[in-house]
C-alpha cells in the first residue's frame, strides 16, 4: 500500500514539475497540444461565422452568450452531444462507429511533430516533415472509407470524389514539400525553419509555395474545393449519414483540425515559422498561422465551389508542372550555395 501511495505522490510531483517547467506532458496536454487546439477551434468556428457575417451584411452568432456570441460553438457542441445517434441499418457498423474517432486522431496527429519554436515541440523528430505529411495524406482515405461504410449513394459519391481530388493534389503537394526538404537539406521542422533565416521559403520558392497552398486548401476540403461534401449535389456528401456527436467529431476533425494543422504546416514550411524569433517565438508562429487560417476562411465569403473535373485538370495541368519546376529550380540553386550550408 505504501508503494502505491508513494508512486502516486511521485507521479503527482512529476506532473507538477512537468507542467511548471513545460515538460512533455505540458506540451501534449496544454500548449501546443490538446487544450490550446480545442480553445483555438472554438475561436475559429466563431471567427469564421462572424467574419462571413460581416462580409454578408448580417450579424452572425450573438445570442448564445459571451461577448459577441463567442459561446456559440460550445452551444452547437452541446446540441450535437444530445442528439440521437442513428446508425444506418445497411452500414458497416464497426467502421461506421470507429471512423470518426480515427479521423480525429489522424487529423490531429501532425500537431505532435510541428514546432511552435525551437523547443516548443511535442515530439522532436528528425523526420517530422515526413510524419506530418504522411498523416495529412491519410485523411482522404478515411473519407473514402466513410463513404463506403455509410453504404449510401451520396456518401459513396462523396468518398469517390475525395479520392479523385487526392489524385489531383497529392503529387504537387509532395513535390513542393520536397523542394523545402531539399533546400533545407532536412526533414526536421526545426532545421527547416532555421534554414529560412535570411529569406522565407515563400520568397525563395514562390512557385512551390503557391502549388502547396492551393493543394493545401483542397486537402482541407474548404471552399472553393469542398467538392467531396457538395451539399447541393450530393447532400453533404461523405458524412451525410452521420448524426449527433459523431457528426460533431467529423466537423471538428475534417473542418477545423485540418485547417489548423495545414495552416501551421504552411507557416513552418514557407513562412519561416517563428522567425525573426525575438520576443516570444511562439507568438510569431501563431500569428502567421492565424493569418493563413483567416485568409483561407475568407475564401468562404468570396468563392463558390469548383467542379471535380476542373479541379483535377487544374491540378495536373498547372499545379504539378509548377511544383516540378520549383523542384528543379531548387535543385539547381542548391549547387550555387544559395540556400547556404554545404554544397552537395
Amino acid at each position: 500500500m505504501m508503494d502505491v501511495a508513494g508512486l502516486i505522490i511521485r507521479i503527482v510531483k512529476y506532473l507538477i514539475y512537468d507542467l511548471t517547467h513545460m515538460g512533455p506532458v505540458f506540451k501534449a496536454v496544454i500548449f501546443p497540444g490538446l487544450a490550446f487546439v480545442f480553445i483555438l477551434a472554438i475561436v475559429l468556428v466563431w471567427l469564421e461565422r462572424k467574419m462571413a457575417a460581416k462580409v454578408q451584411m448580417r450579424i452572425g452568432p450573438l445570442y448564445a452568450g459571451g461577448p459577441e456570441g463567442i459561446l456559440q460553438p460550445i452551444a452547437d457542441f452541446i446540441k450535437f452531444a444530445f442528439k440521437e445517434l442513428i446508425i444506418p441499418d445497411q452500414a458497416d457498423k464497426l467502421l461506421f462507429i470507429a471512423l470518426p474517432i480515427v479521423s480525429l486522431v489522424v487529423a490531429m496527429a501532425p500537431i505532435a511533430f510541428m514546432p511552435y519554436s525551437r523547443y516548443m515541440i511535442i515530439s522532436p523528430n528528425p523526420y517530422g516533415l515526413l510524419f506530418a505529411m504522411a498523416f495529412v495524406t491519410l485523411f482522404p482515405l478515411i473519407i473514402l472509407l466513410t463513404g463506403w461504410a455509410s453504404n449510401s449513394k451520396y456518401a459513396f459519391i462523396g468518398g469517390i470524389r475525395a479520392a479523385y481530388q487526392q489524385i489531383g493534389y497529392e503529387l504537387p503537394m509532395w513535390f513542393s514539400a520536397l523542394g523545402v526538404a531539399l533546400a533545407s537539406r532536412s526533414f526536421d521542422f526545426v532545421k527547416i525553419v532555421e534554414s529560412q533565416q535570411p529569406l522565407w521559403f515563400a520568397l525563395t520558392q514562390p512557385l512551390g509555395a503557391l502549388a502547396f497552398f492551393i493543394a493545401m486548401v483542397a486537402e482541407m476540403g474548404r471552399i472553393p474545393f469542398d467538392i467531396p461534401e457538395a451539399e447541393q449535389e450530393i447532400a453533404a456528401g461523405w458524412f451525410v449519414e452521420y448524426t449527433g456527436i459523431m457528426f460533431g467529431i467529423y466537423m471538428v476533425s475534417a473542418m477545423l483540425m485540418k485547417l489548423y494543422v495545414l495552416s501551421l504546416l504552411f507557416t513552418v514550411m514557407y513562412l519561416g515559422g517563428w522567425l525573426p524569433g525575438w520576443g516570444l517565438p511562439e507568438a510569431w508562429t501563431f500569428v502567421k498561422a492565424f493569418i493563413v487560417m483567416f485568409l483561407i476562411m475568407f475564401f468562404r465569403a468570396v468563392f463558390p465551389r469548383t467542379r471535380i473535373k476542373t479541379f483535377v485538370n487544374m491540378a495536373w495541368d498547372k499545379l504539378l508542372p509548377l511544383s516540378i519546376i520549383n523542384l528543379l529550380i531548387v535543385f539547381a540553386l542548391t549547387f550555387t550555395g544559395f540556400y547556404g550550408g554545404v554544397q552537395p
Partner: protein, 372 residues
Amino acid sequence: MEAGRLDQVVEKEIYVSVGPQHSGAGHFRMVLKLDGDIIVDVIPDPGFVHRSVEKIAENMLYVQIVPLVEKVTHVDASNLAMGYVRAVEELSGIQVPERAKYLRTIACELSRITSHLYFFGIFGIFLNHSTMFMWSFGDRDLFLDLTQLLTGTRIAHSYILAGGVRHDMPQDFPDKAMKVLDYFERKLEDYYKIFMLNPVMIERTRGVGVLSREDAIRLGATGPVLRASGVRYDTRKDDPYAAYDKIDFEIPVYKEGDSYARVMVRFREMQESVKIIRQALRDMPEGPVRPKRMVPRWPVKKGEHYARVEAARGELGYYIISDGKAKPYRLKMSSPSFRNLLILKHLLRGETLADMPAIYMSLDYWAPEADR
C-alpha cells in the same frame, strides 16, 4: 435499386434521387440515372405541391381568384395577378385609368426584381456562394418594404384588380423608391464584381447546359431562358400591357444559351426594371386609379379569352371561359416553370452530376408554379 450493400451492386448505372427532401431541389424531385459521373437520363417527378388552383378557381368569385393565383408564385405575385386581371379585362372590355396602368407597371417590376433577387440568392447558394445568397436576400427586403408601402403587404398583394389598382400610392412612395433604386443600382455593381466576374462562378456556368436557339424554340422555352438563347421575345414589347408601350426599355438578349447567359439575362433585367420604375414614377399622370365603386362581383361577359403577360420566369398565359355567371366556367394557367421543365431533361442529359445545380437552378424553376 434494390436494397443491398454497395459492393453487391452489379448494375453499371445507379439512380440518385434529388429532392424533395434533399438540399438541392426544393419542392421537386428528379431521379438522375448516373453512369459514373455522367447523367444518362433524368426522370422529373413534379406534383408535390399541386394545389389544384384551376379547379378551385371554378368555385370562386372572379375577385377571389386574384389572391389564389398570386399564391402560386408568391415571389412574383403582381405579375401573376396582372395576367389574370388582363384576361378578365380584355374579355369584358373593362377600361383602366391611365394612372392605374403606371402603378401596375411599378408593381409588376417590383415583383420582377424581388423574384430575380430570390433567384440570385438561390442560384448563389446552389453554387455554394453564400455571400450572393445573403446579399440578394438582404436587398430583396428593401423591395419588399417598397412593395408594402405601395400595396399594403409584402407578398400576395392583391393590388391589381379589374378596372384599376386597389388604391393610389402613398405620397412619400416616389422619394423612398428613388432612394432604394439608387442604392440598388450601386449594389448591382457589387453583385457583378463578386458574382458575375467571379472566376469560379464563370468556370462553373460558362458553356454548361447550352441550349441552342433551335432547341429553345422547339422545346418551347420561355422568358429569360429563351432570351439567353438568342431569341428576342418578350411579351412586354410584343404584346404590351399596362404602361409598357409608353416606357422606353431594352430586352437583354444573349446568344450563348448557357447557364451564365441565363444568369446574365436576369441580371440585366433587374437593371432594366430599375429604369422602368424610374420612368413610370416620372411619367405618371394624375387622375383616378380605379372606378369609384369597386364591386365584389366583376362584370365579366360571356365568352372565352386568352391573355398573357411576361412574368419573372417567362410568358404566363391565362385562358378563361366564362358563361356570364359570378364564377368562371374554366380557368387554365400556362405557367413558364412547367414549360421550362421539358428543357431540364434536355439539358441535363450528358452533363456531369456537378453541373446539375448550375443547370437546374439557372432555369429558375418554381415548383408550385409548375404544379399549380
